[in-house]
Symmetry: D2
Subunit: 306 residues, 4 copies
């Protein structure tokens, strides 16, 4: 009962076409708002090295919040459980950029995948590395075996200019003593981090270590121990898709991390990593066609974690 991944991807590629015009491109970052809606790519990276693709799977897109996954993996690999003194592990039940909960909970973000939590992770990296954004870029380059991966400087600049909400979050955490570097340093690094661009194929490959208990499948390098990799997957499932994590788990049933650039990366533990990209977002900020593609993927492969 081997699965014909190529047939399934092709089917999904056909099915999502009518959805491409329904989403909305992220408007709040000027540089992202110009990306054409009618694009869809998907790539599967199996642990045995096989790769399957459909659509614009070799097109670069802006990772945005998907980078929070790699930043967390790097910080977790370096600092271990010490990071949980500064950020929680619970779904927020609020929009990804909310200040109310952060204020009520005295500057400790709910989890590392909302903006506040990601800023704390950036701050943790900034304490360890001279240039935390470069360190993260190197980490992602290694994971994807793509030394040419880079930031999109125009997107980073655009993002910084409209980062008032993130500045507000950072200053609030500073006020509570939960940001150690200067606010400007953290925001700069965070904006560049978000502006890393990748293709679906590169992204699926870069995340594949999470499907193999923390070890990079194509070179055997251990990024995280098995227990830590599982825990990171658990966090993706409960917190990885903004305030729609419950619905996403219900529909898709895979640990995943999404970004407002329209990308989503998901993991089938023991089997594969899968990345989708389509820039049109639904009301919760997740790729509309991308979410549907992943829902169809787990239905057609009968591979969910549940």
């Amino acid at each position: 009962m081997s699965i014909n991944y190529q047939f399934i991807l092709d089917t999904i590629g056909d099915e999502v076409q009518p959805l491409l015009s329904r989403g909305k491109v992220a408007a709040y970052i000027p540089q992202l708002s110009t990306v054409p809606l009618q694009q869809f790519g998907m790539a599967v990276y199996c642990l045995d090295g096989r790769v399957y693709t459909t659509g614009h799977a070799y097109e670069k897109f802006s990772l945005q919040s998907v980078t929070k996954l790699f930043a967390l993996a790097l910080a977790f690999a370096r600092e271990g459980d010490a990071i949980w003194r500064r950020v929680g592990r619970e779904p927020s039940g609020n929009p990804f950029n909310s200040l109310s909960q952060l204020e009520h909970e005295r500057g400790i973000p709910r989890n590392p995948f909302i903006n506040a939590g990601a800023l704390v992770i950036t701050d943790i990296l900034a304490e360890r590395y001279v240039q935390s954004d470069i360190a993260l870029l190197q980490f992602v380059r290694t994971l994807a075996a793509e030394p040419a991966l880079d930031f999109d400087r125009a997107v980073a600049a655009s993002e910084r200019e409209t980062a008032h909400r993130n500045y507000a979050i950072a200053h609030l955490m500073k006020d509570f003593g939960n940001l150690h570097s200067a606010v400007d340093t953290v925001i700069d690094s965070y904006c560049r981090q978000c502006a890393i661009t990748m293709t679906c194929v590169e992204l699926a490959k870069a995340a594949s270590f999470l499907a193999q208990h923390g070890t990079v499948p194509w070179n055997g390098k251990k990024i995280l121990d098995a227990s830590s990799a599982k825990r990171l997957n658990a966090l993706m499932l409960t917190c990885g898709t903004y305030d729609a994590a419950g619905d996403f788990a219900y529909r898709v049933g895979l640990p995943a991390k999404s970004g407002v650039g329209g990308g989503i990366v998901a993991v089938v533990p023991g089997d594969l990593a899968v990345a989708v990209w389509s820039p049109g977002l639904d009301a919760t900020g997740n790729s509309l066609a991308g979410t549907m593609a992943l829902e169809r993927f787990t239905t057609l492969t009968t591979r969910s974690i549940f």
Copy 2:
């Protein structure tokens, strides 16, 4: 590499002993507050019918919120996706009995496992059955193959007398038009439902259909289709352990539903269901020793969904 479940359970039974005195018995229901702390039971029900136990696995305890799982399964089996018009599927990020979020979101509870959501599910059952609490009891009796299962009337009465918070929640939903039956009818039925008592062995068996794609393993009866069973497991993972679902997923990595009686039932899809009971609760309202026991269980068996 078959797993020696009995050895693992015995190990866990030893390990949790120092924890038994650390938790606190639920104080707000007078009848529950008298249960002695120093008790711990655990039972594994494998899909092939084997049963493993340790400690007080044949002791009856009050299911409390664990019944929300069975009520949801019954309502979902009968009404399908129609139930999602009246209750959401997202983690709440708030205590299980909070009114603020319910008010802000105009009477639509975040998920079926917080009290507000469970009251809506009870209301849905009350619209379909003359006596919804009896219908639920019969459903659980069938799932566990235990026709003698029953409510603890003293606990139900005790619960009703201190149900002011639940009355407040029900009236608020009534005000928003999201409760169709009379408030008293729903609260009565809900309090009886919560007072069902079971042993760990009975509970693990009753939940085993969720490990086998919705089909009762010992008689082949289909309770839910495979897709629905997976979805219910996903809901348990994201919402099943109150406001600690993220932490529980991180530590244990299994879909689970807990109750303030100290019981927790969890599912390893494709393999088994496991129930633990220990009345001492942690600050989030989950069994302290029970959570640790399940964390050890997934570590020692290396069976988590991630």
Copy 3:
């Protein structure tokens, strides 16, 4: 420079005519929703006994929340500062029937003029009087020298049937231990209290003791000492007009208490009490024409407290 009150009232009576159709009758109490919009009455009761009126000043209307003023005065006269152990004195910054703040502040209402606070006052009266609603009615009859004042039983019944929000509030306070009588007892008494009907002339007379340092001007009877009367006026100013107290103070500049029946009573300390009634409400639940009439009154008489 004596003031020609009759001329001023007549002017206002003319000016407000175009506003009468703009407000909305309170819809949530069925019996109130049938009151015709095109009505306006106003009465001034001077401390020397002179009375001035315009429009429907002798028409009965439902006092609703205006009764919270008399209930507070009665409780304050009987219990003194002890009442502040159970209810606060701060503006709420939230709608009059909100539960969120009450939950956050552990069942202690912000002030006696939001519903939660009024229910506590009713509870305090219920502890002292066998029939607290009758006691309050007698108190108001004495203040207005109108022994025939009565409840409108149809309105009270209508109110009780739609009192789900108030039930929710009462049960939440019961849960926090801040309601001593049975919830049904308090809600019954509260609904009858709200259903007292009066005319503008009667209302202005009944409130006149607050303009004369707590002493009834026409019989010299001391209801409250001077300091307590001033304090009650201060509470009216900061909390008397729902979540619009700041705007009301800004525009009108008088201590006042409003009700969703469209009545407002205000006090010019040392001079007079004034009552208006017009059933059309603005978005904050205050009489639209009534608020404007009082704003014009303080402008034309140059009598505000500021």
Copy 4:
């Protein structure tokens, strides 16, 4: 029945001595935290020009939030009702530096006396004046007839260094489009504004125009028209003493504005302005001895607005 103000002030000066050690100096601004607790001053400025003092009435102190009153008066005098498009007039029901309500109400602060509202007023002044802090200083110098009034540069610098919460507020409003100047410009100006120092005598004189319908009593210069002055007094009463405005109105019964430097200025319309200073604060951030002194002042003079 003329009032012996000197005797009353002397009495109050004696009475408050035991209270001086009970408050706490504002700790969050390093420069303020060094001010000795055991200080108390009070000054009355009557509209006829007489001045009465007790204690350290000629000692300079940091005005802090008291300056919000003068900034509002200046903006209101220049822009009129246009300012209400950007800031509300309601009590906040939340601490003075809260972000939750501001987020929920989409960047429109509740009133001009909480930090968010004051930052908007500063922004309004920054749009009209090249150097808004200098413009405000000149305005206060004119009101007090004290051309030597100045900022305390050390306090301003200290304030700026710990202004993370205010930066968060400003960036959040910027995100909502309710801050037109650069965040740094507004915060700089605001920190300097807060650092103006005055004595009680100077402060009472500077506020006396609010007791005389908007006209400076000693030179007849009209700052605001009578209606606007009344409205400003109304705002002070409902919003001038942080989240304790209800309690302050209840106890003192005068329009007032307080600051964390320990100063409070209050107005008896038609009669006088009164300023107190004592650096020890109560839990709500108002001067503990200062509030009690004003409560005794209205009791002993029987001059409240109610």
